[in-house]
């Protein structure tokens, strides 16, 4: 059953990767060039023109995913997923153009061709995401809770939370931790055996400052945190002051939950 759609039909999906793959499935089925592909939560009241809402069907998503696996290699399918997590405004259309070319490619190595604009753009997008993942391996700060768990809030540009799990799982195998994305409002909880997704609804955490409420904080937490702030100030060499370089490596938007960059009332806090 093939339906011919008008040229400027757009697609809405539920914002998940599976949902996006279903858009690809539909677009191929209808043989129509999407005018836009948007997640329903993002500016959908602004959408003009015809659009169809694509229902997420895991079976269809799987078929697209396997199809991609047959056209490229494993490393590259991962790259496609990572690029999707960038959540950049035009990323769905970029991925549509990219996937269309990959699926139609007969040579089997088109996806390697960085001279193609879409391939290059996709690789660059995935690189941005991976760069942020690497940065957050460093820019995460845990606070110890009274019951011995370690809690860290994050607010990254891209949706990297799940990509952080392997690193922190192998780094702290014997330590219960939660990493929580305060903007996207979901977190990961590791209980010393596996990682689960959670949504926090109690008000023991201030999402603005990222701080745990006093009654749930470990007694020594403030002590170690102030040692850390002291350390941060002590290793700075005044004669070499170079703010621009500091901000290059550690942009201001990442300072929100870094205690060393948030010192109310002076240098020590």
């Amino acid at each position: 059953m093939t339906r011919i759609l008008s040229e400027n039909t757009g697609y809405l999906y539920d914002g998940t990767f599976d949902g996006f793959l279903c858009v690809i499935f539909k677009a191929f089925e209808y043989r129509s060039e999407p005018a836009f592909i948007l997640p329903q939560n993002r500016n959908t009241q602004m959408v003009l023109g015809d659009f169809i809402k694509v229902v997420t069907d895991p079976e269809k998503a799987k078929r697209v995913w396997h199809g991609l696996g047959n056209c490229t290699n494993q490393r590259n399918t991962r790259l496609v997923h990572v690029a999707f997590l960038s959540e950049l405004p035009e990323v769905e259309m970029l991925m549509w153009r990219y996937l269309k070319k990959v699926f139609r490619d007969k040579s089997g190595r088109f996806y390697l061709n960085m001279l193609d604009d879409d391939v290059f753009e996709l690789v660059q997008t995935a690189r941005k995401v991976k760069k942020e993942v690497h940065r957050f391996h460093g820019f995460i700060r845990f606070q110890k809770t009274a019951d011995g768990m370690y809690f860290a809030p994050i607010d990254p540009d891209h949706n990297i939370l799940r990509l952080l799990a392997p690193h922190f799982k192998s780094r702290f195998p014997r330590q219960k931790w939660v990493i929580y994305d305060t903007r996207r409002n979901y977190g990961l909880y590791y209980d010393c055996s596996m990682v689960r997704e959670i949504i926090l609804d109690d008000h023991k955490i201030n999402f603005h400052s990222g701080n745990l409420a006093k009654e749930v904080k470990d007694l020594d937490e403030d002590y170690y945190c102030s040692l850390w702030k002291h350390y941060y100030d002590a290793v700075n060499i005044l004669e070499r002051k170079n703010h621009r370089q500091m901000k290059n490596f550690m942009p201001k938007r990442y300072w929100k939950y870094l205690p060393e960059k948030n010192k109310p009332g002076g240098t020590t806090g």
């Binding site: 061709n113 960085m114 391996h137 195998p173 014997r174 170690y224 850390w228 350390y231 941060y232 290793v235």
Partner: protein, 412 residues
């Protein structure tokens, strides 16, 4: 008690800050039982206001010192606050910082108290306690104290990911002048010992997987630039020797900061020589990643790096016969030599030219600095050099006055 630790931290972190090394790369450890792991690429956890990365808890065990080196803030004749940690305090601090993800590990150095052996024993004790009792798998960098006995170094190397012996002054004559208790053998002997032990351990691990690792992230050293009159040629020759002979992972260059202004043996300077330090790092990069040898970067006629341009551009202008480089055909090594093209771009160019001809738009997207590169390449959009450009012309075009040089420079 807590106040006491806070004070110690202030003094002993401040005293350690002039050691520039902070890298946490080159090692991979893991363990299901313990705390932590090390990742090959290293991780930066924060950046100080001077733009340097904080990866490790860089700290002195004590700043008491029996030596009196002219360039050092901790020398015995200085009237400063002195302090020292206990092994337990050091371990507690490291573990608690680590668990909060403040740091990637520990970089422990020390002033020399009582004797080199006495000091080295304390440093080793901290590392031993971390690895054996706390099952700590994070990164450990220990300073090898010059003059410490080989047995102690041999034990320290079993716990540490990296050991470093600092040469500090780039010629023996000036080292003796500025650090009367030190000489080159006191630096080279432990370096050579570590180098040998690393190669032996590597060989053994090829045969038996369980053979103990010895300093898996290799060794490094540091030298001070501008405290003594050596030329860049002398410095880069020395560094090149370290990379080739002792197989060092890194040489760090630390622009001289006059911490002891009254010492007549040292030059009086207003500003630390940050521009020179930056050029030396660029030259160091050329040796380590761009297949340059030191004598292509500096030679008897050009003993010092040109402060006005990066050393790769200076090389290209001195060797116009090697250019332009044809991006469609030239080997990787030659593409690497083009000013403005980095390692990543060179790799993309070589891997993708089978798909078509490289154009300027491609180069721009890769991040190639076309303002420099365009004089030295042939590609789809520059099929032949439209006219011969003489080095002097290129130099003039590229050195148009821009923002004032000197203050805000990138270290790496």
């Amino acid at each position: 008690m807590k106040q006491k630790i806070l004070k110690k931290l202030d003094i002993l972190a401040d005293a350690a800050k002039y050691d520039v090394s902070c890298s946490s790369s080159g090692s991979s450890r893991s363990g299901k039982d313990g705390v932590g792991n090390s990742v090959k690429a290293g991780v930066c956890h924060s950046f100080t206001e001077d733009g340097r990365c904080i990866s490790l808890l860089k700290i002195l065990f004590t700043n008491h010192c029996i030596y009196d080196c002219a360039y050092c803030v901790n020398r015995s004749s200085n009237d400063i606050k002195r302090s020292g940690f206990t092994v337990e305090e050091m371990v507690d601090l490291t573990i608690n910082f680590y668990k909060r993800n403040y740091i990637e590990g520990l970089f422990l150095s020390s002033g020399v108290m009582v004797s080199p052996d006495y000091t080295m024993e304390r440093l080793t004790a901290v590392a031993r306690r971390l690895r054996q009792q706390e099952k700590f798998n994070g990164y450990i960098h220990l300073k090898a104290i010059p003059g410490a006995s080989p047995d102690l170094l041999a034990e320290a190397g079993l716990y540490a990911d990296r050991l470093s012996v600092n040469i500090e002054i780039p010629s023996e004559q000036n080292l003796k002048l500025l650090a009367p208790e030190k000489n080159f053998p006191s630096v080279y002997d432990p370096m050579n010992q570590i180098h040998q032990a690393i190669s032996i351990s590597k060989e053994e691990r090829k045969k038996y997987k369980k053979a103990p690792r010895f300093v898996p992230a290799g060794q490094s050293t540091q030298l001070i630039v501008g405290a003594s009159p050596e030329s860049d040629l002398q410095i880069l020759r020395l560094a090149s020797g370290f990379y080739k002979e002792q197989n060092l992972k890194r040489v760090y260059y630390s622009g001289f900061i006059p911490v002891n202004t009254s010492d007549k043996r040292l030059p009086a300077i207003q500003q630390p020589p940050l521009l020179r330090e930056n050029r030396l790092y660029q030259a160091d990069w050329l040796m380590r990643f761009y297949q340059f040898s030191y004598n292509e970067i500096v030679d008897e006629n050009n003993q010092n790096l040109d402060p006005g341009m990066d050393p790769k551009l200076a090389f290209a202008l001195r060797n116009p016969q090697l250019f332009p480089v044809d991006l469609d055909k030239a080997p990787y090594e030659m593409i690497l030599r083009v000013p403005g093209i980095g390692v990543r771009s060179a790799k993309i160019i070589v891997a993708n030219r089978r798909f078509g001809r490289i154009g300027l738009s491609h180069l721009k997207k890769m991040g190639v600095a076309l303002n420099r590169a365009k004089y030295f390449i042939l590609c789809r959009d520059i099929p032949s050099p439209s006219r011969v450009l003489y080095p002097e012309q290129v130099r003039r075009k590229l050195l148009k006055p821009k923002s004032p040089l000197g203050k805000q420079l990138s270290l790496f």
